[in-house]
Amino acid sequence: MTRKIDPMLISRRRILTAMLASTALAATGFAPMVARAQDSAEPQTGGKLRLVAPYGSALQSLDPHATYESQDMAVSKAFHRSLYVWDSASNSVVPDLAAEVEQSEDGKTFTYRLHDNIYFHNGRQVTADDVIWSFTRILSPGSSFSGIPNLSGIVGARDFLDGNADQIEGLKQIDDLSFSITFDGFVEPGYLLFDAVTSILPKEAVDGGDFLSNPVGCGPFVFAEHIEGSRISGTKFDKYYKQGKPYADEIEFTITDDYSALDLAFRAGELDATVLGESAYVLYTQDPELSKGLIEIAEMFTRHMGMNLEVEPFGDVRVRQAINYAIDRDIIIEKLLKNKAFKAVGWLPTPSSGFDPDRAPYPFDPEKAKALLDEAGLSDGFEFEAWVTDSTSSLGVLQAMTPYLAAVGITATPKVVEAGVLVDAINSGEATAWFRSNGTGPDPISALRSFDSRQPRSKNRAAYNDPAFDAMLDEALGTTDPDKRLALIRQADGHIFEQAPVWFHNYNKAVLATQPWVHGVDGNVTEAAIIEVDSVWLDENAPSR
């Protein structure tokens, strides 16, 4: 017996859940906000979409399997598709290339049937064989594709990856359009298979020799040109499987991380949408016209000060809690970050399915902080070194925290290093405390694994060791009842909140600025720069029409 999962039913159910969650979030003041009223007009076709890849001045790779950078993800979805896709309307993953999904009775096998009208840009139909080949490529022995962790839970994946098996046992082709995936344990496959790193690619194009300079996918746009370090463009794919989409005839991404230049280009009307930095955000919110096109998103990233629990006095929970009580986050978010952040009330961010809207943040209570330090035998305070990068959200925040910490007797000294050096120092255990932004979604259990004592130091960076917490995660993972699973996830997040292995600071508020002639831009909480471009359309006022 199998349980059939209708993608539309999933969507409807999740939309309802998301609506309820949004109502709850709105009550807490954390709800993602779209400043301009949602479009009700009929989408128009034509024009050129002019977007931006805003996290660097180059793309790393046009092969979506071979990339490790957020920058490339902003572009990939225009050319490639995966089995699932992030649906901003329902705040969840939904099937994309898969028309039907059936889950087995034991909950570990998922049988998929692809839409029968999906084609690659080279004209060939996408079949189950392409899915099997793409996943097998990612897991090929000796490979180092970034999608390996996404697929390593498939039965037999590890054996294949290590060269001990000829094929992946858990991947089975049923017919031309159907296949099944069996996982070792209970997973939500959507979380694993929506990312561009698990895109479905055509074997003949990848093996053709020029895939890195002429990528072929089954996405809404056909690759046209890539000028390295400047732009990448595509043209509308007429055989795209979603009828009538994409709406735009062409797409172009400018590749740059210079936010001042992006601001000027957007104001000059040369970009249809862009990501805003802090200083531009303030100016845009104060401008009556520009503010209408702002889309504010609580991204699934949690900014925090991590603490090395193997270094005293951070092993003492009272000290960690004291730090959380000692600092006025509201002032820092308002004055330093210009309100471009949402106050953190746990590890899981507001858009996460595991977010607990009823949880209150640590209040600013220096007296309580002092009392906790007294209890911990640190009435005279203590000193520590905090590793930071020179960004506002790292060194800037530490400098803003310093007076608050000093008021309770704690002296924090900054050690400013480059981002890569910071990672090395954290992973090696050299850093005592550090500032970082962690991806905390969309899979809440994976996000909470950052405190799983069985994880390597590069994942459990605080060296948090709490078997009770590990057991909570295992129980949540092994539970098929969604309500019970959600309750366990929230319990685990609440546990981490109490144990405070980090100073909970904020969830990043990403802000997209859109022009008045652009419609259908979604607010993607997994990464704001990844816009679902097949749904974006330009009205008659667009200069590119």
Binding site: S230, T254, A261, A268
Partner: protein, 310 residues
């Protein structure tokens, strides 16, 4: 001349070897690696993938082994494969060298066209308001940071006047080239203006100028035949040095204008600790500098026949 070229070639080979050795060793011993830079991105790359990547790229090999492999490949004309893109570095550079060269040529063209006349006029009108204005302009050009000048130009010509595109490469045409070229050319222009003024003033006081004047030579003939040519020998060195250093000096400008040049590749690669790509970009920058300086040395022979290289 052949002897000069051979000597320069030998010097260039030695310079290149020293530079690439220094860069390789430096990037191998300073904190941070390619894989740690990946983990610094917003996306968390798993430790399992990192370890596989290190094996695949040979990052765990001892430094002398990696260096020996690099030098051996380089001697065969192979610049290696970029850690980040997995593409041959030569392929990555080939697409960018032309863009950088074009930008450098346009920038030096702007610098020479504006800086030379400005300095010349300032010297001829020494002490006048023209001299004061020209030198104030020149000092300002040297003082303003390139990125700030670029933003001001973007603001004026793109946002306010809608005359030129803010950034990007476009189809490689003139409209996208003008703003980055002017931005990159401002500082060399200012330096050239000051150098030209000083060179012309020095030449004006030379004996042969006095002699020419006493012989009754017209001012126009004096300036074009004697003054300009002799002063230009002194200015040529500045032009050569400025032009030669433009590929390396355009890093910030290329990033600001989303210009697909070698400079922006270099800065991205440094951030990623992508040593093969860094080496390739630096190699191009060093070779360009050496080439321009050799050409300047040869140009001396044409401009001033008295100069001999022994």
């Amino acid at each position: 001349m052949l002897q000069l070229l051979l000597r320069r070639l030998a010097q260039a080979a030695l310079t290149v070897f020293i530079v690439i050795s220094l860069v390789f060793v430096l990037f191998s011993v300073i904190p941070g690696t390619f894989t740690s830079s990946l983990q610094a991105d917003k996306r968390d790359v798993s430790q399992d993938v990192i370890e596989r990547l290190e094996d695949e790229l040979g990052l765990n090999d001892p430094l002398p082994v990696r260096f020996a492999n690099y030098v051996t490949d380089l001697a065969q004309g192979d610049l290696g494969v970029s850690y980040a893109t997995r593409r041959p570095v030569s392929d990555m550079l080939s697409g960018r060298i032309w863009a950088s060269f074009k930008l450098a040529c346009a920038a030096i063209f702007f610098a020479v066209c504006v800086g030379l006349p400005l300095g010349f006029i300032a010297a001829i009108r020494q002490g006048s308001w023209i001299d004061t204005a020209a030198m104030t302009f020149a000092v300002s050009g040297l003082s303003i940071p390139g990125f700030w000048a670029g933003l001001l130009l973007m603001y004026l010509f793109s946002l306010k006047l809608h005359l030129l595109p803010t950034f990007g490469y476009g189809s490689g045409g003139l409209s996208h080239l003008i703003l980055p070229a002017i931005t990159l050319g401002i500082a060399p222009m200012a330096l050239l203006a000051r150098t030209t003024r000083a060179a012309v003033l020095e030449t004006l006081n030379a004996d042969f100028i006095r002699t020419a004047r006493s012989k009754g030579m017209s001012e126009r003939r004096l300036v074009t035949r004697h003054l300009a040519r002799n002063a230009f020998v002194l200015v040529l060195t500045t032009i050569g040095l400025q032009f030669g250093s433009m590929l390396g000096g355009s890093v910030v400008i290329e990033k600001l204008f989303a210009w697909p040049g070698v400079g922006s590749l270099l800065i991205d690669s440094v951030g990623l600790r992508d040593i093969p790509a860094v080496q390739g970009a630096i190699l191009v920058i060093v070779l360009f500098f050496l080439l321009i300086n050799t050409l300047v040395d040869l140009a001396y022979l044409v401009v001033d026949p008295r100069i001999r290289y022994n």
